[in-house]
């Protein structure tokens, strides 16, 4: 009884220590008491992976990353804690999944056939560096923008040529008109396609914003970078569309010329398909423009939620 | 040997002590008397270095206590037993623990020895059965006596008593006086006693210092007091003696200015 005070103090300190250690293990998603199955791996780039990131096989959480270190040769050394009852066969490999810009990364293990002997505890599993999902999205959207630009540049060139041809007296207007119609067709086609692509980009961005929503304060600067990049893409698209608008304006001018021109050209007016096409092209352009101008704002507004953290 | 040399002390521009010098030779008992608020408690706090003088110095056994290291100062202080005016019992400890405290802290004695010493000390102040009580459960006079027991527990070489008998009934007062006297004689303790009680002064003191108007207005042996013609001293002593001498005149004293 004489030591009871010391005993109580000692017990509470010991209890706190146990809770602290187990609490960290629990929140790291490492089994509290059982020992774990430890594997090492190397990646070219950690891509935002950090201690505590989950490990998944076919989408199921099977453990957590213990730590991520930089080796002397600048390769990334990663230590994995896996559930004890797991056996990863030789020949399996690990990849980094998730979106690094958002910090929600995880390790995916692609197991080799079960027939292979299991990798022993503390063993090595090959790490394959796959391109980051988000980077891929960005890359694709850049490629799409380039496509739009190219198509538009072509269209512009052709339209100029058309103007030139129409301006020449006595030239046969028929092939020119045919070409013009083809171009307009192509343009409309491209726009339809690209509108779909742009929608896709925006769709992707929206999924990403779903991920963003689950973000805590981590990777705020990478997030800022990403937003910046997305913004640039939007600006790009907008300027491309301005070019498109210019092109349509050209077309409009040509039409006015035709309108005021001689009788041969007046026949053009009888071709209603051209009008309809042009009208619809303009409409599409306008709505696409509207869509693009509105949508980025919309998704950016949703991203404000992230500020809460 | 305690020497106070030319001590001057002021608080907030009021001079409480001005050029006060006192010598207390080994084995002697000095009584310090003076009106309330004259600076007696302040004086004895200088003797153990609880207050630092504005001017002057305090020398205990040849060492200037304001110049030695803090460690050395504490070593010197351990030669002292101090009874504070308010008792200053540790209110988180029982009476027994209060008395045992210096013994436990400064002697490596086993618990049994400490227990018997504490009991003996409490016996000396006529409080044998209050060991378990907390200071708040004791009367003012009892607290004072427990504090006295604590001050003498280590049988110090120097004992400072700040009004040891104030607030006590005459019989207990007499007993405390006898205790102080016996300590002085038996252990040859050097002591400073602050008191308003001339009866005590006459009973225990070898010499007397009278503090008046921030100075030692008079000092001398007990016998010298009556031969003195110092007016303030005589006023002080006579006011006291009526009470001691003739119980009946106590009320008359307060009537006459």
């Amino acid at each position: 009884m004489k030591h009871s005070k010391e005993l109580i103090v000692g017990l509470s300190l010991a209890a706190a220590m146990v809770v602290f250690v187990l609490g960290i293990r629990f929140l790291q998603d490492v089994p509290l008491f059982r020992s774990t199955y430890v594997l090492h791996t190397h990646f070219e780039s950690a891509g935002g992976l950090s201690g505590g990131s989950p490990i998944r096989i076919n989408g199921v959480d099977v453990g957590a990353v213990e730590h991520v270190r930089l080796d002397t040769d600048n390769r990334v050394s990663v230590r994995l804690h896996l559930d004890d009852n797991l056996h990863i066969p030789e020949g399996s490999h690990a990849e980094i999944g998730g979106i690094s810009a958002l910090g929600s990364n995880y390790v995916i293990i692609f197991p080799a056939p079960q027939g292979n002997p299991p990798i022993s505890d503390g063993g090595y599993i090959e790490g394959v560096s796959a391109p980051d999902a988000f980077e891929a999205v960005t890359e694709r959207s850049v490629r799409l923008t380039e496509n739009v630009e190219e198509a538009l540049a072509n269209a512009n060139l052709l339209l100029e040529d058309t103007g030139l041809l129409i301006g020449e007296t006595g030239a046969d207007i028929r092939p020119t008109l045919r070409a013009l119609r083809e171009v307009t067709d192509a343009l409309a086609q491209t726009l339809r396609e690209e509108q779909e692509s742009v929608r896709q980009i925006i769709g992707n961005v929206e999924t990403v914003s779903g991920d963003l929503a689950r973000l805590s304060g981590a990777g705020t600067d990478t997030l800022a970078q990403t937003l910046h990049r997305l913004d640039q893409i939007t600006v790009h698209l907008e300027s491309s569309l301005q070019m498109l608008e210019g092109a349509t304006h050209n077309l409009d001018e040509i039409l006015t010329k035709i309108n005021n021109g001689d009788g041969t050209l007046a026949r053009l007016l009888n071709d209603p398909t051209l009008y309809i096409r042009m009208g619809s092209t303009l409409g599409t352009l306008e709505s696409l423009l509207q869509d693009l101008q509105d949508n980025p704002r919309k998704y950016l507004r949703h991203m404000d939620i992230v500020d809460v953290f | 040997m305690i020497r106070l040399e030319h001590i001057t002390k002021q608080f907030n521009n009021t001079v409480v002590l001005r050029d006060v010098s006192l010598d207390i030779p080994e084995g002697e008992t000095l009584a310090v008397i003076g009106r309330s608020g004259s600076g007696k408690s302040v004086l004895i706090k200088h003797a153990v270095g609880l207050l630092t003088p504005d001017e002057g110095r305090v020398v205990v056994d040849g060492a200037n206590i304001h110049e030695v290291s803090y460690k050395e100062l504490r070593r010197i202080r351990r030669k002292f037993g101090v009874l504070f005016q308010g008792g200053a019992l540790f209110d988180s400890m029982s009476a027994f623990e209060n008395v045992a405290f210096p013994l436990r802290t400064f002697t490596g004695k086993p618990d049994g020895n400490i227990r018997s010493r504490v009991e003996a000390c409490l016996e000396m102040v006529q409080l044998p059965d209050i060991g378990k009580k907390m200071p708040s459960e004791l009367s003012g006079g009892m607290q004072k006596r427990v504090a006295l027991a604590r001050a003498i527990a280590l049988e110090p070489k120097y004992i400072i008593y700040d009004e040891p008998t104030s607030g006590l009934d005459p019989a207990t007062s007499n007993h405390i006086d006898e205790l102080i006297l016996s300590l002085n004689e038996r252990l040859r303790v050097t002591s400073i006693v602050i008191t308003h009680d001339m009866h005590s002064v006459l009973a225990i003191a070898d010499r007397v210092a009278f503090i008046h108007k921030a100075r030692i207005a008079w000092s001398g042996t007990v016998d010298d007091i009556h031969r003195s013609d110092h007016k303030s001293l005589l006023d002080f002593v006579r006011a006291n003696e009526y009470v001691i001498g003739e119980q009946t005149s106590a009320s008359e004293v307060s009537l006459h200015p």
């Binding site: 005070k5 010391e6 109580i8 103090v9 509470s12 300190l13 706190a16 220590m17 809770v19 602290f20 609490g23 960290i24 629990f26 929140l27 790291q28 998603d29 950090s50 201690g51 505590g52 989950p54 929600s104 914003s209 779903g210 929503a213 689950r214 973000l215 805590s216 981590a218 949703h302 939620i305 809460v308 953290f309 | 706090k45 153990v48 609880l50 803090y70 460690k71 504490r74 070593r75 010197i76 202080r77 351990r78 002292f80 101090v82 504070f84 005016q85 308010g86 200053a88 019992l89 540790f90 209110d91 988180s92 405290f101 210096p102 436990r104 802290t105 400064f106």
Partner: protein, 253 residues
């Protein structure tokens, strides 16, 4: 002129006095046996006896945070697990240490200041000194030691109970299930966070005990002075906790 100068230098005088007090508390001690006993006594009072109130405050702050986060972050974009992702780190990083600190600034800080203040005005500190003890280290070292040892313990308790409170309310209020909460907490858990919280608790423990000791030890002016020191101790502890909280966040995060 001289008045305004003294007024300007006052904070530095106080800082110096405070630093010296703490310095003296840990140099030239007397006897380790007495300190050991005192330290355990203080650990009981500061630490163990504070567990109930800290637990209560932590449970409620965890619960309230959960409810408010659910209310604020209701959105189609956000999965329910986000609540766990917010509540657990808030508890570990900020609420755990600060709530514990505030509660104990009142409970422990005021108590220390009142105790030492009373000892000062009733000459008990003088009595210790007159006996030849180093009153500063005798009184202050055990309290500061107990503070810096027991606060981290209370912090751990506060976090565990706070998160527990959050989970309980999440279930009872139908905001999200235990699994979702835990999933959310685990998804964005950074192992550094608890260590950061622990450092905060350590610093707050030191602040509360040392500031209160300073206030108590230099009390003057009788019962009124004790009252003043007690209030000052609680208030100044809170103020310095807030300052330290910011400084730690800026320097360590």
């Amino acid at each position: 002129m001289t008045y305004s100068l003294t007024w300007f230098l006052r904070p530095f005088t106080i800082l110096g006095k405070y630093s010296l007090l703490i310095f003296h508390a840990f140099v030239s001690p007397d006897d380790f046996r007495t300190y050991r006993k005192n330290t355990f006594n203080q650990m009981m009072r500061i630490g163990v006896e504070s567990i109930p109130i800290v637990a209560l405050a932590a449970a409620f702050s965890g619960a309230v945070t959960t409810v408010q986060v659910s209310y604020q972050l209701v959105s189609v974009f956000l999965p329910a697990t986000v609540i766990g992702s917010v509540v657990a780190p808030s508890m570990i990083l900020e609420l755990g240490p600060v709530v514990t600190g505030f509660i104990l600034a009142g409970r422990v800080g005021a108590r220390i200041a009142a105790e030492l203040g009373t000892m000062r005005v009733t000459e008990q500190i003088d009595a210790l000194e007159a006996m030849g003890l180093n009153s500063i280290s005798y009184l202050i070292a055990p309290r500061i030691l107990a503070g810096i040892i027991m606060f981290p313990m209370l912090y751990v308790a506060a976090c565990a109970i706070g998160i527990g409170g959050g989970i309980t309310v999440a279930n009872l209020g139908g905001y999200l299930t235990t699994q979702e909460f835990v999933q959310g907490a685990q998804d964005f858990f950074r192992p550094f966070d608890p260590y950061f919280g622990l450092s905060k608790a350590f610093v707050f423990g030191f602040i509360i005990t040392s500031v209160s000791c300073y206030m108590g030890y230099f009390t003057a002016g009788g019962a009124e002075g004790v009252g003043k020191s007690t209030t000052q101790a609680a208030v100044m502890s809170c103020v310095f906790i807030l300052i330290a909280d910011l400084v730690l966040a800026v320097t360590l995060l």
